[in-house]
Amino acid sequence: MAPDNVHAIAPRTATELSGPIFARSADEDRNLVSGKGGQAIGSLMRLKVRVLDEDARPQPGSFIEIWQANAAGKYQHPQDQRDAPIDPNFRSWGRGVVDANGEIDFITIRPGAYPVPNSGGWWRPPHIHLSAYGSTFLSHIITQLYFPGDPLNEIDGIFQGIPDPVARERLVLKPDADSGIPEAALGFRFDLVLRGRSQTPLEN
């Protein structure tokens, strides 16, 4: 749903053109798979995210947060009541500030699909949630990243909720050997485009 009571366009004042500055966090915050008891179960992958503005300029300082299910499709969240195994060596979140090239990478595993409760058989395709904060309060986006070729993508109500196939395709990770770790981790890339200061309002 979208709220129907949008009455005015936000101006571009000091309020909108400033925004929180996030401290660099520890390198461990970008590694979701190194538990106390060993490596998390699942297909290891390295995800390289690059943050650009609409003019393809890197956006250093952007703050990225990701969260996802484990390889069994289970979230470490009290409201995930499904009887699927928790992986004690998998931490379901990562965060960090992108570098001077607008890039950041995370070591994680490919998440599993999971059933949506009371949905009559709907399973979410494997996906990684991502939040990105650019340089201003208005430049905050939350979205979901999908895996190329997964058949569940075609019937997922949330992914297909974006009507434009080209816009959907932009949420699909790109396999990229250079982003991987030889003989250890698959590589995937994701280019995220934040709206810039001269942005025109989104059609909704």
Partner: protein
């Protein structure tokens, strides 16, 4: 020059609280911050009048002098300006902060003291944005956002003092008395 299309937003989903929240995130201004220390509290209410739990609410504000951390060199370092919290099982949220000062707006105008608000909730396909004002600011009359909204819609952006240092503001997503949202 290449023109890239902004990435499409998707719903925040139900399971994000561990990914996005730390306990200190609802503290916007530390104990040494200058100005009037207040609590900003409220509830999130949907179209049917039901309270919404587990929604992510973020605020961004100036310090007591109307200066923004990271933008204005003289801003109060004890005012981070940014806060983030989750509505609890009663749909309630609370921030600890200071009352922001008025700050310059477009042209020569002034903006009344306000909190910028961003809201993500399950079922919303993207973030919604609004502002919270206090009822007793002399700058309300000239504030550009309130002026653009018009009297009726502007009223929905004004909080109320429920105690000397507690400003209350309920966010109504839709229906009667719905909060006016701003297109970002």
């Amino acid at each position: 020059m290449t023109r890239l299309t902004p990435t499409a937003a998707q719903t925040v989903g139900p399971f994000y609280s561990y990914g996005l929240l730390t306990k200190e995130d609802c503290v916007v201004a530390g104990p040494t911050a200058l100005g009037r220390h207040i609590k900003l509290v409220g509830k999130l209410i949907n179209r049917d009048g039901n309270l919404c739990r587990d929604a992510l609410i973020e605020i961004w504000q100036a310090d007591a002098a109307g200066l923004y951390n990271g933008r204005d060199a003289d801003a109060d370092p004890a005012v981070k300006g940014f806060g983030r919290t989750l509505t609890d099982e009663n749909g309630s949220f609370e921030f600890q902060t200071v009352l922001p000062g008025a700050c310059p707006g477009s042209g020569n105008s002034w903006q009344a003291p306000h909190f910028a608000v961003g809201l993500f909730a399950g079922g919303l396909t993207r973030r919604v944005v609004t502002r919270i004002y206090t009822p007793d600011s002399p700058e309300l009359e000239e504030d550009e956002v309130l002026t653009q909204l018009g009297k009726e819609a502007a009223k929905t952006l004004i909080g109320r003092w429920v105690s000397e240092n507690t400003l209350e503001f309920d966010i109504r997503l839709a229906g009667e008395g719905a909060t006016a949202f701003l297109q970002d």
